[in-house]
Amino acid sequence: VPLALVRSDPHAVPSETPLHADTEVIERIFREYGQLVLDTAYRLTGNVSDAEDVLQDVFLGLPAALERYRHRDTFSAWLRRVTVRVALMGLRRDRGRREIALDTVAEPIVRAHETSGERAEIERAIAALPAGLRAVFVLREVEGYSHAEIAALLDIREGTSQVRYHRAVRMLRAALGAFR
């Protein structure tokens, strides 16, 4: 789908293209990348319903944002970065409200589908990290951002990012104590 997207020729655009055509494109992008968006959001937010909200926002914003998409890298990499930013917007929005909760209280994790044994245990431990710590851990460990980039994304100092990362690791260690 994005192959067609990045190739579209502005000169060929009929001005009165009907709305359902947009819908078709959204549907195509969803079929191909919906899972990627949902997974990325899920790792950062730690629960399914927040992840679904992020997905909804991303897809509602896509029509306008596609105009900003550059071909410097793959469509999926771009979409993944945008998703990270939307997910973090949500976390930041909640920060005022849940400042205390961020570092202390673990959020419940909703997981409908099957995983077993040790892997499930690790996933639960990651999802149960306080949101602020989980965000840093996932950005560093999964999305591959540097501490400087994480600091810019979360609007915190670089040192704070490092400290949070180590705290996340310590908490995971504690949670998974029996596991070797």
Partner: protein, 746 residues
């Protein structure tokens, strides 16, 4: 990928003598990373001695590995409907920029709005593929550099020809190979848009792109915005090899040449071989190159040459061994190269030495895992119950899974073996676990679909996997559109995906029948048969319909089997008897024949030969190719004396020529040589009876857009190419479809 050097000793924080935690954590993520092999080795050495650091790294690898494959539940249509409903109500959302605003360039993007994209898609969908010439585009592409440094900006200039001329913009697509990629199979970055080319000077189009850091070879094609016309440079594709970062003059890197060889294997034996020779010439110290050279030589010269090849190669092996065994800083790849080189030369002492060292020093590197797999295979051979294999794979997985990078390569072999063994043992819990591991290592859409087609074999998993397979069958085309290979137009890729969808319906149908739902199963199998011609499929559908007692629909399926040219007369008679309705049989077979023709011709192509190519006969006469091919269906094949697969196939080609002759179909064999006594002697010694022509001016190669050998082109009586195929098995069947009265069986 981190840029810091992951080996800073922390002398202040009470961890004197240990690498600092950041370095350890970076290492747990980036182990075996080619950017800092030396630092990695030093940490590995430390880890071997230090339990607490080893424990920390093992912990981070396991936790990080799980984090990277943490999946949300499936993104279902319920979610999509929610988005569409919000949108219909006029909802929208301002997405954040993906980079700081200051760095955004003011230039408005070339791509239009979503509506524009939709319009393009609509046009593409509506356009059916029409006849074109064998090489419809034929432009010229140039890069600003001969070999690229990793991360370098490269300028591209393209002079369009044919159907791509006169366009406002074109798209450059690329496939990038990384050092770890293997022949055929899985490639790091199989296809992506690299740049949009815009008109520059003198009818040319230009663009720039950044040669990615982590890759060693890029191959490219240019296409129109709607992906309706693709210029794949006569199937060769354009290529750009990486140059080593330290080299003074730009030369191709060893890894780039190895990957070039991998990329051509299966497409052009000659090019693959040439690339390996070049690698050995430039980098004589690399055992991997010598090993690869030996592989080509063995295939080309056959078993008779084993002794002389061994004599020629053994001195190299021993010299490399003597030199490298003293080197304590060797990468896993170098050790692996020595192991395989020694193994191909049957020098078990040297092979064992390097296998031991590889397993000892790089146990969780890709080649280390491979070596450990190879070590346990011999003892698994007698294990018919698969229980020993399962236990061994479990052990290996447990120690190897910590390293996610290694897992992207050899871990894949391991999880596939584990899944096979668990399915063989019919243990659904175990199969589910291995399937989960499989998808953690390789979780693309096609992998998920494949795993489901396997799990559905087990009764306990059937119901849940049928549901998943239905989802995959529904999305089989849309979900894979972006995975279009470089050399295919969108229309070609769509029909390819439709064909692949058939195999999913086949799996669902078979499972339904096994579940006792014969009618639903048979229905689904019929659906699979709509787009594909497959005897096993017809057989399954016939069995399913008989179970429901519907002898007419079973008979229709049996008739489809009967008309396939691969059936003998006896088989056809017994199928007719099994159908048991002689009065309907004639009608069924007539319909089946028409259907076979429809389906197979749709799978084929429709291209005219470019220009009026001439070929040369063995006695030096010039002949127009058209004179040899028009008037009756004709098969044209390209082969080469210097191509291993061509040589191996030669006896089959001789049989093919006789089978075609018996059916009144023409046959022309073309080789890319000038007339010579050696060639004549070779042909006489091979006892070939069919005519061989020489493409001395390469006009036939260009006219048919041929690349590589062996290849088969099936032309109809008007000289239009209807099939363009590599496999010899279906040549007779396909050519028979083009006979005027289409009697493939007679």
């Amino acid at each position: 990928m981190t840029t810091r050097t992951p080996f800073l000793f922390d002398l202040t924080g009470g961890r004197a003598g240990h690498p600092d935690r950041d370095a350890l954590h970076d290492h747990s993520r980036d182990a075996q990373s080619p950017t800092d092999a030396e630092g990695g080795r030093r940490i590995e050495a430390h880890l071997a001695e230090c339990d607490s650091c080893g424990d920390e790294v093992a912990f981070m690898r396991r936790v990080g590995g799980v984090a990277r494959v943490m999946h949300a539940p499936m993104a279902t249509d319920v979610l999509l409907d929610r988005v569409l409903a919000q949108r219909a109500r006029g909802a929208s959302f301002e997405l954040p920029h993906d980079e700081p605003a200051a760095r955004l360039q003011p230039r408005r993007l070339a791509l239009g709005s979503l509506a524009a994209a939709a319009a393009v898609i609509a046009v593409v969908v509506a356009t059916s593929p029409s006849e074109s010439t064998a090489s419809a585009a034929g432009g010229e592409l140039h890069f600003s550099v001969a070999y690229a440094h990793p991360g370098e900006q490269v300028q591209v200039s393209y002079t369009p020809g044919g159907e791509l001329a006169g366009r406002d913009s074109l798209v450059l697509r690329g496939r990038f190979r990384a050092e770890a990629d293997e022949a055929y199979g899985r490639i790091a970055r199989p296809n992506e848009v690299v740049a949009v080319l815009r008109p520059s000077a003198a009818g040319r189009l230009a663009g720039t792109f950044r040669f990615p850091e982590s890759v060693v070879l890029g191959v490219f094609a240019v296409e129109s915005g709607d992906a309706g016309v693709v210029d794949d440079h006569g199937k060769k594709l354009w290529e750009l090899l990486a140059t080593p970062p330290s080299a003074g003059a730009r030369v191709p890197s060893f890894e780039a040449l190895v990957q070039r060889s991998n990329a051509y294997l299966g497409r052009s034996w000659d090019e693959a071989f040439a690339s390996t020779r070049e690698a050995v010439r430039r980098y004589p110290d690399r055992a991997e190159g010598w090993q690869s050279l030996l592989f080509y030589q063995q295939a080309l010269l056959g078993e008779r040459a084993d002794d002389s090849l061994r004599r020629a190669h053994l001195p190299h092996l021993r010299e490399l061994h003597a030199r490298m065994r003293r080197d304590s800083t060797l990468s896993a790849e170098r050790m692996n190269g020595m192991f395989f080189y020694a193994r191909s030369l049957n020098d078990s002492a040297i092979a064992e030495h390097w296998m031991d060292r590889l397993i000892r020093e790089w146990p969780t590197s890709p080649s280390g895992i491979q070596a450990r797999l190879m070590r346990i295979w011999p003892k698994l051979r007698a294990d018919t119950a698969a229980s020993l294999a399962l236990a061994e794979y479990e052990k290996l997985y447990d120690s190897a899974v910590h390293d996610s990078l290694a897992f992207q390569r050899q871990g894949f072999t391991l999880v596939r073996l584990g899944l096979d063994a668990a399915l063989g043992a019919k243990d659904s819990a175990l199969a589910t676990r291995w399937a989960e591991r499989y998808l953690a290592a390789q979780g693309a859409w096609s992998d998920s679909a494949y795993v489901s087609t396997r799990l559905v074999e087990l009764p306990a998993l059937r119901a849940s996997q049928v549901a998943r397979l239905r989802h995959f069958a529904r999305t089989a085309v849309t979900a894979r559109l972006a995975a279009r290979p470089l050399d295919m137009t969108l229309a070609e890729w769509r029909s390819e995906l439709e064909r692949r969808r058939a195999s999913l319906y086949a799996a669902i149908g078979t499972a339904l029948v096994a579940q006792g739902q014969a009618a639903a199963g048979a229905d689904t199998l019929e659906r699979a048969a709509l787009t594909t011609w497959s005897i096993p499929l017809f057989r399954d559908a016939a069995t399913a319909w008989s179970k429901t007692g519907d002898s007419a629909r079973a008979g229709v399926q049996l008739a489809r089997i009967a008309v396939d040219p691969s059936m003998t007369d006896a088989a056809r008679d017994s199928l007719a008897r099994a159908a048991g309705r002689p009065r309907d049989w004639m009608q069924w077979t007539t319909e089946a024949r028409a259907r076979m023709r429809d389906i197979l011709l749709r799978e084929g192509t429709r291209k005219s030969v470019r220009g009026a190519p001439r070929v040369t006969s063995l006695d030096g006469r010039e002949v127009k190719l058209a004179a040899l091919t028009t008037g009756r269906p004709t098969v044209v094949t390209f082969w080469s004396r210097y191509c291993g697969p061509s040589l191996m196939e030669l006896p089959a080609v001789e049989n093919l020529s006789r089978a075609l002759e018996a059916r009144g179909i023409g046959f022309v064999a073309i080789t890319d040589e000038t007339p010579s006594n050696e060639l004549r002697a070779f042909l006489a010694a091979s006892k070939l009876t069919f005519p061989v022509y020489l493409d001395t001016r390469r006009e036939a190669t260009s006219g048919l857009n041929n690349f590589g050998t062996p290849n088969y082109y099936v032309l109809d009586a008007e000289g239009i190419v209807r099939f363009d195929q590599r496999e010899i098995e279906t040549v007779v069947r396909n050519a028979s479809l083009l006979l005027p009265d289409h009697r493939p069986n007679e």
